[in-house]
Symmetry: C2
Subunit: 681 residues, 2 copies
């Protein structure tokens, strides 16, 4: 009856939602300047319209999958309903994030008129709304499923469907929002910064509103759905391996007292992480010094406190519930690995360090060398995360077997509440900066929002490290749970089997094709935006002189239409390919496929994120005055690098994290169907 | 006593060497114009100096490895000597290629003064010298080893050392030569084409001679060593699996009559390929029409005839030696897969088709979109090769088990003699064009050499397809032969094992780090060249006006010094990592490592080669007048794309093919040492 502890997670989740609601109420109570309010309204409307249309499209897809899951005899209505529940709660997380972000950007701008600290407070509390909502809704959803279905003997086959629903919404949201935001961004940059030499967020640029809308639907709503699925998938993966927790571990000793406790444990750890995050969030405070270090320290105090508290709480839970201490070490391996990956990401992407400084330096010999050195930097940056994850896997496996690997993933994401808060506040500050620029407010305010935004980039880089690291662990755990669900023995998933080898190759193909499609989608949509902005400069008399107004709505519409069209193919391919592989190459081939996509997806995700981050900051470094500063040829070269990196770091790269888990979780959900397939060969 | 047939391969190999020698004699007898002879001499000296210094460095490394192999008790002097023999013959292949290329570039230029056909004849015969040398020396070397060591019971443990030697020399030659050629090329392009707006190969550019030297040491000598190792490794992989040929196949029937025959068979197939290549080479002839299609058809006639003849010969051999017909089908799967991969490479990289046309088109919105679309195109281009290789593996495995997979790789490379000839003649024509430009010969001659060069690019793209496809098959076969050599059973190489999973991740890391290092090496060396060429334009009065002479030697020296320095780290990492992994993660972890590096290396190799090829041709398409033509902003954007692609397609990408096989063959060679290691975890 250890299931009783689930009520604790319910209480924690409701507490988290309560605090999020309080922050939301507080944020909307803040003052909103008149000038910025007008523009903010346009952004809000654009974002709402996009999300409305996106969710309508998604509803159709989700409905079709729901029906299929429900009618397939070996799955059934419980699986269907759980899938639906996952999709809806995931969509809700994204929606809440977008709503609060579009209502706080203007308020952040207005608060920044008063002081930096006020600006930070509004933006960070708004970010916290999303961070807390994501984790609390996720945990509440899983707790409800536990209460509803644990006593049916189908529970372990039902629960993955929640992750399937969440990941499905996440991949479309990430890709759709990602295409929108980066097409608008690159489109605005290419014509604005490169061709017309006007500043970022200049109101004469017809794509600026679309760019701001993009921040909200991509970097906020898309990321919300993304982190939601990371969070719930890591817990689900652990739950599905609960059966082996009893006997696993290299030592062969009992790890967790009962199967029921092994199910509840990851949720309790996650709940402890929410409490730790709440405390961390309340610790974030900053004085009125416009210094990066002071700002960064304020946020670091919050995230580090949360991480340490989460570790202490995890230890107490393990100790109190009489779980083998080895499980605590597995959790700690994950938590520490996450922090280390975050630091390595920071090293490769921040311009404080040599790798990114070298990218800036290579701008002196033109754009081509910027691309080569930034891309090489991204490839090189895979070294620490892969080694760290490798060591974490070995340790977690040593301490807790496959269950240990899974719960290490939960440990890594324990403090996601505050991590996500520091992630989400970035685009809010970015938007606020855009509003300041567009409404012609004084420059010192822009400097303040820039400081906030720049800080957001650093914390976002760390957050991406967590996301990618946990994706590898979770996907691996799901792969193991898949092999158990279809009854594959060790000698059946061997590297000498032709179907497994071919599966590996085809799995490796998926991330490559996925990246190609999403990058091309940004390219194509961006191309339309460039032509539209160019057209407006040409056809609207007086626009460049600032005497006429640009037609912003047109760019928003083009982005909405094109990005929704372009998101379909990569999403559908990801959902269908594990199914097709399962039928063609059989359950063994599918195991190879999942392994291939996880390994290659992991490498490409890090490469894309960090190359993109490095190009972005290499440009920022030149803007601080290095190698000729703003307006120099070196600057122009680094702007090209930044533009190339945009779709890589904000569309393709992060979507890969979802992709590898989605493929694995589909395999787990469909295990009862696939279990008897040995393939056509 | 089927070993008697080995004398047939000896005769064929000697015949091949004889024809190569005749062609070499014929080429050096051709007229060499006075003007071009002077410049050719400078190129020849630069190339010889580089190769001399490179081989000296390599000699040290090879000597160290030789001593280690000889003194380790479980390996011994036979392994050491075989390694040495492989290294020397590989170096010899590169040296012959470089010698003939640097002696035929001027003669091609002079012959092109007479007619296009004369130019083609000289360049193609020179290319054939290298093509025939590579395959004939390789086959002769293997035949000698068979005669010397087959009767020792160690034979299967000795023969991989030949591949180890060949691959070691190849990886350093490919990387060293690749850095040289691309650093010189990008350096020359960035200052010449982008900054100073002077044409390619303009004598005012201080890096032009270095660029020409680079073609010979990278695209000729480096490629020679590269293809040599592909060829011998594919045969070796098959030989090492000869023991299982007796009973393999899904049907469980006997495939090859005896183990001895299973060893000799791949060499006989290779010998048949040499005869087919010889016939194909003599069929290449062209009329005096300056048309791409006529030229292309002439070469295609040669390669297609060779492929068909090779298939027929293979059938006759299989039939005559009473081998199971299934083996013929396995060989044919490889041969056909190679042709199809070549065609798909052509589709993604030739500007006749949409993918590359779209890259050109995206140049209208700047360099950033060229990079995004070209890179996306490269990623997408992995689809057909991976699917084709996947099907080939399934078919070959179905027909011939693991032996079938290995011999499919031999089938794919059967016609390497003529493939390599069409590859090698490209850089010779390229060099001839440079000589024409530098010595101020009339423009119609440059048009002729351009036509030859352009054709060379197309055939080189096809050749790269073969190389990468065979690399995947060979590496896989070596992996299987490694697991047998260390005695790993199916249930020991399973995807549920933590060491194997971590090995997979670390293996996936190797190609990424390798690419990062080599790209950065080109970037760094290119940076030095750019600064040197800029310095000369600034400090040598009258240089830009053509009144003063550039200091070419300085650029050649910088390239030589830097590229030799930079080649060491990536080469050493590749050699050491399988050894380190074997000791740390044990023999199982190493199996995972090899799988990871093969899969990711395959994906990255295709992406890099095809993205680079596509950027190159997108630029060429604009130069034909599309989207504004030469000198337009679109053209400038595509030149940046071409520059980015240079190190990807000619340094990192092709070296990956060697890397994945080198890692595998080291594992096979060290199998007796590693067999008892289960790792530290």
């Amino acid at each position: 009856m250890e299931g009783i502890w689930i009520w604790l997670t319910v209480i924690v989740a409701i507490l988290g939602i309560g605090v999020a609601a309080y922050f939301a109420w507080w944020v909307t109570k803040q003052k909103e300047g008149d000038k910025v309010a007008v523009i903010a309204k346009a952004i809000r409307e654009g974002a709402s319209a996009f999300l409305g249309r996106e969710y309508k499209l998604l509803a159709i897809f989700v409905a079709v999958v729901f029906i299929i899951l429900t009618v397939v005899p070996s799955l059934g209505w419980r699986v269907g309903v759980t899938f639906l529940f996952g999709a809806i709660t995931s969509g809700l997380s994204g929606f809440i994030g977008m709503k609060i972000a579009t209502n706080s950007n203007s308020r952040t701008a207005t608060a920044a008129e008063k002081s930096l600290n006020s600006g930070l407070k509004v933006a960070f509390r708004a970010g916290s709304v999303m961070g807390l909502s994501v984790v609390s809704i996720g945990l509440l959803g899983l707790s409800i499923l536990f209460l509803a279905f644990y006593n049916t003997d189908q529970f372990l086959a039902i629960i993955p469907a929640y992750g399937f629903g969440a990941s499905t919404v996440a991949i479309f949201s990430r890709v759709g929002g990602g295409i929108f935001t980066k097409a608008a961004d690159t489109g605005a940059d290419i014509v604005g910064k490169v061709e017309q030499n006007i500043p970022e967020d200049d109101p004469r640029n017809a794509a600026v509103i679309a760019d701001c809308v993009g921040d909200n639907v991509g970097d906020v709503a898309g990321m919300g759905a993304d982190l939601f699925e990371s969070y719930v998938d890591s817990i689900i993966a652990t739950v599905t391996l609960s059966a082996v927790a009893l006997i696993a571990g290299e030592s062969g000793t009992t790890l967790v007292g009962s199967k029921e406790l092994a199910c509840v444990l990851p949720m309790l750890i996650a709940g402890a992480g929410i409490i730790a995050s709440l405390i961390g969030i309340f610790l974030v405070r900053v004085g009125e010094k416009l210094q990066m270090t002071a700002l960064l320290n304020a946020l670091r105090k919050g995230t580090w406190s949360a991480a340490i508290l989460a570790a202490i709480f995890a230890f107490l839970i393990v100790w109190f519930l009489d779980v083998n201490l080895n499980i605590f070490w597995a959790i700690l391996s994950g938590l520490v690995a996450g922090v280390l990956i975050g630091e390595s990401t920071n090293y490769y992407t921040s311009y404080v360090y040599n790798p990114t400084k070298n990218v800036s330096k290579s701008g002196q010999t033109g754009a081509a060398t910027v691309i080569i050195s930034g891309f090489a930097n991204g490839l090189m940056s895979t070294l620490p995360p892969v080694v760290i994850v490798g060591i974490a896997i070995l340790l977690a496996h040593y301490f807790g077997g496959v269950y240990g690997v899974a719960i290490a993933g939960v440990g890594m994401l324990a403090t996601l509440g505050i991590q996500d808060a520091t992630d989400a506040y970035g685009p809010i500050a970015d938007n606020a900066g855009g509003l300041v620029e567009m409404s012609g407010l004084p420059h010192e305010i822009r400097d303040r929002t820039d400081a906030l935004d720049s800080l957001g980039n650093t914390t976002a880089a760390t957050g991406k490290g967590f996301a990618v690291g946990s994706a590898a662990l979770t996907s691996l755990a799901l792969l193991l749970s898949y092999t158990q669900a279809v009854g594959l023995k060790a000698d059946e998933v061997n590297l000498l089997d032709a179907n497994i080898i071919v599966g590996l190759f085809l799995g490796a193909l998926l991330p490559a094709v996925f990246c190609a499609l999403t990058m091309n989608a940004v390219g194509k949509t961006g191309y339309s935006i460039v032509n539209e902005v160019r057209r407006q400069f040409k056809e609207i008399p007086g626009l460049l002189e600032g005497k006429a107004k640009a037609d912003y709505k047109r760019c928003v519409d083009i982005c909405t239409r094109d990005s929704l069209k372009e998101m379909i193919l990569p999403g559908v391919i990801t959902v269908l390919s594990p199914i097709v592989i399962g039928f063609v190459l059989g359950k063994q081939g599918l195991a190879g496929f999942l392994t291939g996509s996880t390994v290659v997806g992991f490498i490409l995700a890090i490469t894309f994120s960090n190359a993109g981050g490095s190009w972005d900051n290499a440009k920022k470094y030149v803007e601080t005055g290095a190698f000729g500063g703003k307006g120099s040829d070196t600057h122009k070269s680094t702007v090209i690098g930044d533009t190339v990196g945009d779709p890589m770091k904000d569309t393709s790269g992060p979507a890969l994290n979802i992709m590898i888990k989605l493929a694995s979780i589909i395999a787990v959900v469909l295990a009862p169907v696939i279990a008897n397939f040995t393939g056509l060969f």
